[in-house]
Each structure stands twice: as C-alpha cells, then as structure tokens.
Amino acid sequence: MMSDARDSVLTVCPFCSCGCGLYLQRADGAINGVMPSEHHPVSFGRLCGRGWAAHEAPLWGRRLDRPMIRRTSRLEPATWEEALSMAARRLHEIGAGGRPIGVVGSGRATNEENFLAARLARGALRTPHVDSCLRAPYQALLAGLDGRRAGGDDVPLDWTNTFGDIARAEVILLVEDDLANTHPRAAFAILQAVRTGARLVTFGLARTQLARLAWIHVPTIPGELPELPAEVRSAYAEASRAAILLAPGEAPAALGRLSAAFAALAAETGHAGRSGSVLLALPVRANARGALEMGVTPALLPGLAALDDAAARRRLGESWHGDVMTAPGLDVDQMIGGVGALVVFAEELPAALVSGTAARAALERLEFLVVLDAFATETSSLAHVVLPIASTLETPGTFTSAEGRVQSLRPATAPVGEARPGWRALLDLAAAIGLPPTFDSLDDVQRAIGRAVPSYATALGAGRGGGSVALTPAQVTALGATPPGTPTTDETTPGAADPSYPLRLVRSGAFEWGDDPLVDLSPTLRRDRASLRKRYPDGLVELSASDAQRLGVRDGWRVKVASPIGAAVLPIAVRHDIEPGLLVVPFGFRDRLEPVLGREVLVAVRVERA
C-alpha cells in the first residue's frame, strides 16, 4: 500500500485549500517530519507554519485504532463486523421509522471519500441529507462568479487563476478575514506582487498584516457590500493583469452578492477570462472544493449537477450501480436537531458548525450517531458506533485545491491498529446497509468518479502530476440556483440607525483553526495557535481601543452587550486594528453571542460596563 520504500514521500498538505505539496519524511519506516518540495508547482519549496507540522497530529494525537460500539452507556471495543452490523441495523430501524438520517462529509477528506459519502447517503441510505461544514459560504462565492461566457454552457470558465498569476498582477483586490493566517501561500503571492510594485486593495473587518501593506484599505463588514473607491475601480480597469481574491467569511447570501459584484466588475473591465488575470475564491479547508464537487451538498448531484439533470442522474446511477435518491435535503446546520441519526465522516462538529458548542447538546440527543475518523474527538466520544479510519498521511486519494488542481495524496505509513482507509470503510458501511460494493480498489472508485463527473475523469487520469478541473457556466448556474445554506436574515438593515443601539456587533467568519483536530492534536500548532476557546474559557467580544476607552473598560473587563433580540455579559479584548463603532465576535465564540445575534451576522447593539 505504501508508494515506495524511500524516506521521502510526496503528498499534499492537509490544512488549507492552497494545495501546497510536501514530503513526508520517514525514518525506520515511521513518519518523523516533513520537508518542502522545491519543484512542486504550487509551493515551490515553501510551507507555512501549519504545513511544517503536518505530520504532528497523526503522530501525536489520540488516534482511533479500533471499532467501538455503545451497547450500554460506554463505548467498548468491537470487531468491524459487530460495529458495521450494529450501524446497519440501527440505521435501518430509524429509517423505517420515518425519521431522517443525515450524512456529513468533510473538507478534510479526499475526493474518493466524499464521493463515497454522497453514495452512502443518496445511494445506500436513500437520504437526501448530505452536506459538509463550511460548504455554504464557499458555494455562495462560487455561485456569484460570472457565468456569462461566449463559449457555451459546458466550456470551462477560462480564468487562469494560479498563485503565480497573482504574484505577477499589477492590481490586487483582496476580500479577507486575515489571509496571512488563513491562506499563507496566497498571502505570499501577494507579498511578491507588492514587492515588485503592485497595488493592493484590501477589503475586510480589520487592518491586518496585508492591509498594512496595502495601497488602500476599505474597512468592510461581513454582510455588507463595500463601496469601491473610484480610484480603485480605474486602477483595476487600467491594469493589464489584475487579481481578485475572495477568502470567505460567513453570511452566505451576502457572500453571493459580494462575489457577483466583483465578477461583474471583472466582466465590465475586460478582465474576465483574460490570461494573467485572476478571480479566485478560497475556501477554508484543503478539500472543500472537492467535497462540493463530489456531491457532498444537499442541493446538487456530484459534478455540481442539478438534482433534476437527467444525464447526470443516469451517469450517477451507472457509476453507483443503483438508484439515486435525488430530492433536495437539509443542510448541515439544519441536520443538527433536524435528523434522528447522523453519519459523520472526519469532522469535529462543534469546531466547524455555525452553531458551535451548542451543537453538542443536539448531538447528545441523536438516536444514533456513527462517526468515522482517525482522531478521537468530542464528536467521536458521543458516537454509538465508531469506525476508525486512516489519517491523510496514511491513505491514498486526491484533493482538489482552490485553484482546481486535483493532486494525489500518497500514504507514508500504514493506518494504525485496525483502522481502514476511509474509502474502504465507507464502502463496507454502504454494503452492510444493502448497497453492495462494486468497487474493489481505489482505482475502481476513481473510475467511478470519472464516469459520474467527466471533468474528473481527465484530472484523475492525468498521472503523477495530477490534473486540474475548471468550473463551467452550467455548474456556476446550478450552484446559484440552489440556496447555499440555512437562510439567515443577513440582509443588512440600511434604515435609520436606532440611537438606543449605536454600535454594531458582527460575527467574524474567520475559521478558528485552533479547534480543528489537525491543529489541536499537534504539539507545536496547539501551542502557537491555541484556540481562543481554550485561552478564554469565559468567551470574549472584541472592540476597538477608542470604544474601550470611551466605555471606561480595559482588556479582560466585562461588558453587557444588548440588541433588540437579547443580551449577554462577557469579557472584552481590545483590538487596535478595527474601526470604532464595531464589536467583533470571533468564530470560536459565535454560540456565546447567540442570545444577542440570533441567526444574524450583524446586529445593532448597545454596550455598557457590566
């Protein structure tokens, strides 16, 4: 199963969606470190702080190494047969009783695993409720891209869209939370560009590292469409090569409007599809794009095909060797509390769901929870059946990066204990439920993907270097025709400001990597990126230094934040990089501020010392 016996195995970084390559280093057969790859077409010999520690979580983290079942109140070891048959029996019972079942795939999982998760849902369990965390904001960004092309609906949109192009751009428009933290490889491309004279314009909540280097920074609140200064518009229009990068936060509806506005700008100024110009959406996770394209979404089929696309249904039926359930389903946020049973693949739900730690209570109330993961997490501790799978360092498969590169992972060591490759575990689970496996190997699975999603047939067959995929206008249209996520009333209310609520509270969409198992289980990363939730167990809300001074509060002091919806009391953290008048809820504390925000991303509030 291991690709070769050498000491350096080339694979793909498992963290963000930039798609950097790296070597897993082995000593005496065991992984002991990583090394960059000079010739890798994305990373060219570089890695970020997370990438340099990519080996740590699988090496140091609490691993799931045998199947477990909960017969009484505790999880106990079991054989694969016992665990699979218990899972199949209970899922059948719940399904037969008319209660919905949901499947959660993952941006941390491979294309093959996500494809089989979608098959588990729509093929084996016959449920339309299949989704992954953090999919909705990314889908919203993609849906806004300009689908108007002269080439026709199925011709790929011809943006070149590489980091190399960004480094050579003359003007760069960046919508970010903090790109230097969320997507360092992309931030490096911007540093290269600015160093050679490019003009950078940043749109974001805070004056981040890149904002400090920008020509113009436009303070922008999630949920609001920024005003494009006239000089920015003309600089962008006059440049021969220009780049737009969209790194999503939250508020899917607003993100859709945002990306549509930027895509329209690109079309109007002739940059759309121009060689050297870029329009790139950057999802959080390594394989968020792949998960979406493999059908882990409640409103589309694999290949980003509409649910009523007859040709897609037929291809899928042939690929899955069975009927395909094609109704629309619940998204991942609706599933929590909305289903009787859940099958969760490689995801730590409280870390990634919008409902945050509040999800734990809902998970505890599930009739049945099956968790497949490599790591022991809070989610796996609540499961009724735990199926141990290989980590991304131990499994072959592919990831699709933000740029659209389909790259191969190569295993550098065997899975631990009785863990199986994730694709094998999903096939076995589907078989136990009643959909027999017609695939024997990973190659078979990849061929099946190619039959269902023709663009991936070429990409997966492209050999060692991997191939790439590009969206077609038909796919963009399909993305846009479906609601990206649970509707939030994130329409900003532009009406007259209520003087009794003079400030604004906004929920930051910047993903809290500190809560993700890949960071939390790595000794180096959890020290340097300790999650805010761990560092501040009482929660916090951030406000500007001038507002803090006006209110007479200091770092760590408690305030009462009240909106028309409700109130909360919690400590503050003073920031010197946000505008006065704005309070920020970090992603890690979104559930603490739920009494104040409700389902909104932005509300008017008043604040006083508590």
């Binding site: 690709s3 070769d4 050498r6 000491d7 350096s8 195995v9 080339l10 390559g21 070597y23 280093q25 000593a27 002991n32 470190g33 990583v34 090394m35 960059p36 790859s37 000079e38 010739h39 890798h40 010999g45 570089r46 890695l47 970020c48 702080g49 990438g51 340099w52 080996h55 090496l59 140091w60 230097a180 360092p184 490889r185 931030a187 490096f188 540093l191 290269q192 600015v194 160093r195 590292q209 400090r212 280097l213 190569r410 060692r464 000794p523 180096t524 020290r527 340097d528 300790a530």
Partner: protein, 350 residues
C-alpha cells in the same frame, strides 16, 4: 598541501567504492525523489547516488538531529519510573554533502559540545563520517564565500571529493576519512602534483564565479552589535514575514527544539522535536507574558543570533554558512541576504 593527504580514484570505480562503504555503514546521499526533487536518503544501491545535482533543500542536520527524535524511554517499574536512553548507534556516512553543510555540521558539533554536552548528538556525530563534494561552480542562491564556508574547504571534512575529469580527487581530512579508503585500497592512488594544481585552479575559478560583490557580514555585524539598527526596521520587516519558521527549520546552523512525551507501551517515549524561535508561542511564559509577542521582535531575534558579535564570540563563527536555503524557503521576503542588506543600509522596502 601535503601530498600524502590526497589520493584519486577513477570515476568508473566510484560505484565499487560506494558498494563497499554501504556494506559497513548506512550511506546517505542525494537521491531523486517523487516530485522531481533531490533529497538526502539512505541508499540501498550505489546507482541511487546523484553525482550531478543541486544541493538538496533539506539540510543534512536531520541525520544528527531528526525532526522527531526519541531520546529516552520511560518505563513503569512497579510504582517507580525507569528511564532508559535510546541510543542510536548506527554508523552513517553523509556522502557528497557540500562544503556549506560540512561547515554547518561542525558548527552544530561545537554548539552541542559546549556547556552541557549533548549525549545524543555526540553519539551520532562520533559514528558519522562527512564526505563532501566540493562545488566547482556557485549555486544560484549561495553565498558561502561570505561565510568562509565554501565553495571548497581546507578542513572540517573527513574526506573532500573534487571532480577532475575522469578521476575524483579525495582529500583526506581525518583518520575517520582515511578509514573509508581502507574498504577498497586498490581503487586509490596518490594524487599527483598536477592533480593538486588542477584542484587549486578549480577552486579559484569557483570563487571567481561568485562575482565582484564584497561580502557584507562584517559591516552588518558591526551595525547590529552596536545598536545601530532602528527598532522600526524590524517592525516593518515583520510585516513581510508570514512566520512559517522555514528559515530556522531549513538552516544548517539552527538547532532549537522542544521536548514532548509520547505515550507508548504503558510508559512514555520522551522525544526531541524541531521548534522555531519564529513561532509566536516559542517564548510564551507560564505567566502569560511573551517577551517576543510582536513578529518583528522574533525576526530581530533570529538575525541577532545569526549575525551579532556576541554570538560570534561565543560560538567562534558567524551563524550562517551561505547555503542560500533560507532564500528558497522563505514564505515572505525576509531571507538572510535581504536582511543583511537592510541592516547595512538601514532601509527596508519589502
């Protein structure tokens, strides 16, 4: 140079020599990896050695200081705990490493012998033989001439190889090196005066290849050591650094580490692992205070360690071998040549 200290071997006989060496020792050499890169790897066959290639991005320090290195096994013994040293006693030959890397390993040897001698490092170093390949032309990012670390060395190696047409010159730097010749003595003969002259000429040509530009470590060292670098310079530099830590991890003279215990067999394995002064919480104290909270402070710290007089005096050498790896690996713009230039000029423009 003493003619007794140099021999030559026909290039066609190198394969045999390498095969014999491999019988008694782990042989680590540049090899071709999956992704088109050259990586140091333990070889199973002499054919795997790449003789004409760029210096691998990864530094050979990992064979003395692995990225994750089990040091001590801690076993439960009734109610007490019993520690046992995990001793790596394998012999290894680092084969065709470059002059800069030889210098780097000798620097690390010095650091790990001073104050509290590091048993694990020394045990490995005692069993390691350094066979270098002199560089007959500059590499694109290298500046070893500025650090007295190449392209050829006069000492520090156990053996130094120089390609001379169809023969390879082998300069003997130590007893350890001489012993490597004993595995196949018939393959070697004494170097002629002409061959030694050829070697000198190759070195001179290689040095000239670096160009006319003067080296600047001296002036940078003076400025940095006499407080003539503005704090704001480091602040601005910090904005051009993404804190990846690559510079320190890839650097042949960096050695910072962390210690962590891994549960194993009912006890623990105490491991040393690479760490970096560039990481935010590297200096975070239990009180919550962090003396290097700002990124610019961490960048400054790195260059003080590498270039300032106090470290030069303590360690006997500047903390840089001019290999150029930090230029290749930097995820920003703060590599050694760029920062040295900034220190000298007092300016930073990214």
């Amino acid at each position: 140079m003493n003619i007794d200290e140099a021999v030559t071997i026909a290039k066609t006989d190198l394969r045999m020599w390498v095969a014999r060496l491999g019988e008694r020792s782990r042989l680590i050499a540049p090899t071709a990896a999956d992704g088109g890169d050259v990586v140091f790897s333990a070889i199973a066959d002499p054919e795997e050695v790449l003789w004409e290639c760029d210096n691998p991005l990864q530094p050979p320090k990992q064979f003395l200081l692995p990225q994750t290195d089990p040091l001590i096994r801690i076993r439960r013994n009734g109610r007490s705990l019993r520690p046992e040293t995990i001793a790596d006693e394998r012999r290894q030959i680092l084969f065709t490493i470059r002059s800069c890397d030889v210098k780097g390993l000798r620097y690390l040897e010095g650091v790990h012998a001073r104050d509290l001698p590091d048993g694990s490092f020394q045990r490995r170093m005692d069993r390691t033989v350094l066979v270098s390949l002199a560089c007959t032309r500059p590499c694109p990012q290298g500046f070893c001439v500025c650090c007295d670390a190449g392209p050829f060395l006069r000492s520090g190696f156990d053996l130094q190889l120089t390609p001379l047409g169809d023969r390879m010159l082998v300069e003997i730097g130590s007893v350890k090196g001489r012993e490597l010749l004993d595995v196949a003595p018939s393959l070697f003969r004494r170097a002629t005066a002409g061959e030694l002259e050829h070697r000198e000429a190759l070195e001179a040509t290689a040095r000239r290849g670096f160009g006319e530009e003067t080296c600047h470590f001296g002036s940078a060292m003076r400025r940095i050591s006499t407080g003539r670098v503005e704090a704001t310079l480091w602040e601005r530099m910090g904005d051009w650094c993404l804190g990846c830590g690559g510079c320190t991890l890839i650097c042949p003279t960096c050695y910072c580490f962390s210690i962590k215990d891994k549960p194993a067999d009912g006890g623990w394995t105490r491991c040393r692992m690479w760490d970096s002064c560039q990481y935010p919480a590297f200096t975070l104290e239990a009180s919550g205070h962090n003396p290097r909270h700002a990124k610019g402070d961490r960048v400054r710290r790195r260059f003080y360690h590498k270039v300032s007089a106090q470290y030069y005096q303590r360690d006997g050498d500047v903390g840089c071998v001019g290999c150029g790896r930090c230029v290749k690996v930097c995820l920003g713009t703060t590599d050694m040549p760029a920062v040295v230039a900034a220190i000298r000029k007092g300016e930073w423009h990214g």
